[in-house]
């Protein structure tokens, strides 16, 4: 494969681990770029959930890369084949880079369906089994700008055996080699980039081996799989990611799958991650909540903190979990958000977040959002998705700024 057009230009590396930079050369014509650490734009079949192009474009600084999942696209293979123009055109996406992942980070996959030669994704009509050949055939109809290679990532349960984890590493490498062979011989995929996938569960040696071996292949970057929120605690995650990072080249990006909570994002950036999937705002929206955490780096260089809104911390009274997320449950509310269904908001005429310039905060109030949620109105999802995405984008922007100005260690939860 010719040298990858994707180039990661690092402007800073903090303490040998956290990286700040720009991912350049994205897209078929190489003209797009994405600042790192950054997040991708999460989508269902190319559409940001709840939003049409008009509502999406009320947002500023939309990430240049849209993530599309095989779980939403695979069942439309025949349609795309007949369409011939590639997924971007099919979805009416004009000015974005499309990255195709295997799974949807917001939808859990039932375990037990991978084999030596296949993995499965779940579409609207049920399970679709993929061999590498079928996987690559679908990629040819999608024509993404970049995709992750097929991987055996069914290792996120904490009591998975070492034998099983070793197998997932081996299978994933085999899938990668097969993908690359087909890729290199395919006209349709010329100019498309491939990311290798690092597996290995919670076993350090397997993680290191997976990273080392994957790095030997001509891939443009690396996906780190099996670290989903709820699969392990952050300490272990950090330890494993650092071990992986040691085996990976400095100048290729690392995309961490399945992690989106702001505190975990922070910790993983410190461990050496560059890119995150942008599904967290969607999850918050689906539970009728609005992101409200402050990520203000105060001008006081000594006491800048990532603090919770004061009046929101007394949510303990409602029996809501405060900060901790129970194992494996990504749907639980976090301390980064407010639950607008709560009665206290019914006459709260403030915007969701003071000073947030998003369409929702400029035009609407908490009381209205509360009403929309109580009456099950569709507009609630639209407005919350706009706000939550804007807030999350703002968080990453501040994260990069903190890295640039050595304030990362101050941008932490109290």
């Amino acid at each position: 494969m010719a040298g990858s057009r994707i180039k990661l230009e690092l402007s800073r590396v903090v303490q040998g681990e956290s990286r700040l930079g720009v991912l350049k050369g994205l897209g078929r014509t190489g003209q797009h770029c994405l600042e790192v650490p950054g997040c991708l734009l999460y989508s269902h079949l190319g559409t940001v959930p709840h939003l049409t192009q008009d509502t999406l474009h009320t947002l500023k600084n939309i990430p240049a890369v849209t993530q599309v999942t095989l779980s939403s696209v695979a069942e439309h293979q025949e349609v795309l084949q007949e369409f011939k123009g590639g997924f971007k055109k099919f979805a009416g996406l004009h000015d974005t880079v499309v990255y195709c992942s295997l799974h949807d980070p917001a939808a859990l996959c039932p375990p037990g369906y991978t084999t030596n030669k296949t993995v499965s994704v779940w579409g609207s009509g049920g399970r679709i089994e993929l061999t590498v050949a079928k996987f690559m055939a679908i990629q040819k109809t999608i024509q993404p700008d970049w995709y992750q290679s097929m991987a055996d990532g069914e290792t996120w349960q904490s009591n998975t055996s070492r034998k099983r984890l070793r197998k997932s590493v081996d299978r994933t490498l085999a899938h990668l080699d097969e993908c690359l062979t087909i890729h290199q011989n395919s006209q349709d995929l010329q100019g498309v980039e491939v990311f290798g996938v690092v597996e290995g569960g919670d076993i350090l040696e397997e993680r290191a081996r997976s990273a080392r071996e994957t790095a030997k292949r001509p891939v443009a970057g690396f996906c780190l799989d099996g670290f989903q929120t709820g699969s392990m605690d952050q300490t272990l995650r950090t330890q494993l990611i650092k071990a992986i990072a040691k085996e990976l080249p400095e100048d290729k990006p690392r995309l961490l799958q399945g992690v989106g909570r702001p505190d975990e994002v922070l910790a993983c950036v410190e461990a050496g991650v560059d890119l995150f999937e942008g599904f967290f705002p969607f999850q918050v929206t689906e539970r009728g909540c609005a992101l409200s955490f402050s990520f203000d780096i105060s001008l006081d260089p000594e006491r800048a903190v990532l603090e919770l809104n004061d009046d929101e911390t007394c949510r303990a009274g409602e029996g809501q979990p405060n900060g901790e997320v129970t194992d494996g449950d990504q749907t639980q509310m976090t301390s980064f958000e407010i639950n607008l269904k709560d009665k206290r908001y019914h006459d709260d005429f403030r915007p969701l977040v003071e000073g947030c310039g998003c369409y929702c905060c400029v035009n609407h109030q908490r009381a209205y959002l509360h009403h929309l949620l109580v009456t099950n109105e569709l507009l609630a999802g639209v407005l919350l998705m706009i706000h939550n995405t804007a807030h999350y984008i703002g968080f990453f922007s501040t994260l990069r700024e903190a890295l640039a100005n050595d304030k990362l260690d101050l941008l932490k939860r109290r």
Binding site: T55, H76, N363, L378
Partner: protein, 403 residues
């Protein structure tokens, strides 16, 4: 001596002005500028329905972008949740939903028919059992107007005694007379006659004599506009159009005529010809959520398999945001993945309705409305023998013959 209601309406300036821009010399159609407190409205006009203070899934900016100048909110629903006090605190329904153009609120009367298991009617008002907490509430003319005053809508509807159009017998006459008495109570109860327009609603079911009696009485009240109610509820179309045309024959020329609950394209075109100016209906927005897209030749069920590989837009001639960017095939696929599929169709259907009315208006202004009707019908039906006979009859009654 003039009644309190009559004196009230004589003393204050009306927050509504109707300027008749053109009248069709063949039919009874008019094109008007309806000047309301928040903006002018070009008629004939179709008003989308945003029952609970929102147009399902569409932002106010999107609605504005489609050219909507007036939409509906519902007193019964909003009176229950979030309640008139909260909305008043939020600067009325305009402030609460942040809609800067006009709002029309229905009185809650229709829910008496649509939610009839929950209601009981007497001279006082309608007793409802709230579906949310089982509490009993009495919606009287005074209460309905009070809620609508809090909502601050530009046009308020009287509370009428609504009877299903399929009911016959003495109940219909009782309801007609009661609606007149309730109209007077509504007029007396209106705290904001200088800012909010109270429309009367002509009742009388499908009985010409009752309708005429109602018209005679209600047109004596000095209200800024009249609605034709009690129709569009499942009655025979042959009866429907006759009641509509009877009503417009006896309504004052210089006041707007609002035909409630009408929204199918054919019905709109015919009823404009019969002299109606304003219409509302949940149909276009509701059917959108089921994947049904409205087009000049009928409708398209986007969720059906036949569109899975159809790469044209819903309507190649439609300039709406949905048709400019997306194909039937993509929308078909999107229905399996995300709720935004519904929003795309909703936007298209609203655009279709508003565009239709704009074209109707322009043809009246240009003096070619009968030709417009003919070509509209040709597009909508595969052949003349498929034209609905009621529509043919109704149009013939206003001098339009279809081939």
């Amino acid at each position: 001596m003039a009644s309190l209601a009559q004196r009230k309406t004589l003393c204050v300036a009306s927050p509504l002005t109707l300027r008749i821009v053109a009248e069709c010399p063949v039919t009874k159609a008019r094109a008007c500028d309806l000047i309301l407190p928040h903006s002018a409205v070009s008629t004939p006009v179709f008003m989308p329905v945003g029952t609970q203070g929102t147009l399902k899934g569409i932002t106010v900016d999107q609605l504005d972008g489609l050219g909507c100048q007036i939409c509906l909110g519902n007193t019964y629903h909003l009176g229950m949740r979030p309640g008139p006090d909260l909305i008043e605190k939020a600067n009325g329904l305009h402030g609460f939903m942040n809609w800067k153009k006009n709002l029309l609120t229905d009185s809650g009367g229709f829910q008496m028919v649509s939610l009839v298991e929950l209601s009981e009617v007497n001279e006082e008002g309608v007793k409802f059992k709230s579906p949310y907490d089982g509490k009993e509430i009495l919606l009287s003319p005074e209460k309905s107007i009070s809620i609508q005053n809090s909502l601050g809508s530009d046009i308020m509807m009287q509370l009428d005694d609504v009877v299903s159009s399929t009911v016959t017998g003495p109940r219909v006459e009782e309801a007609m007379h009661r609606s007149i008495r309730w109209l007077d109570r509504c007029i007396a109860a209106n705290k904001n006659p200088d800012k909010q327009n109270l429309f009367a609603i002509i009742q009388g079911g499908l009985n010409a004599d009752l309708r005429k009696a109602c018209l005679d009485e209600m047109t004596q009240r000095n209200v800024p506009g009249f609605a034709i109610g009690g129709l569009s509820g499942g009655e025979e179309k042959d009866d429907f159009w006759r009641m509509v045309t009877l009503s417009t024959d006896h309504l004052p020329r210089e006041k707007p005529r609002y035909l409630m609950g009408v929204g199918y394209a054919v019905d709109l075109v015919v009823c404009v010809a019969l002299g109606c100016d304003m219409f509302d209906c949940v149909f276009p927005t509701r059917t959108a959520r089921f994947g049904s897209a409205l087009v000049p030749w009928g409708s398209l069920q986007v969720k059906h398999k036949q569109y899975a590989k159809d790469f044209q837009p819903i309507d190649p001639d439609c300039p709406c945001p949905t048709c400019k960017r997306h194909s039937r095939a993509y929308l078909h696929a999107l229905f399996k993945s995300d709720t935004s599929a519904m929003h795309h169709i909703t936007i298209h259907n609203i655009a279709y309705q508003l565009t239709l009315m704009r074209s109707v208006r322009q043809s009246i202004v240009d003096g070619r409305f009968p030709e417009f009707i003919r070509s509209f019908m040709k597009q909508m039906f595969p052949s003349p023998d498929q034209y609905p006979s009621w529509a043919v009859d109704a149009l013939a009654s206003v001098n339009v013959t279809l081939e």
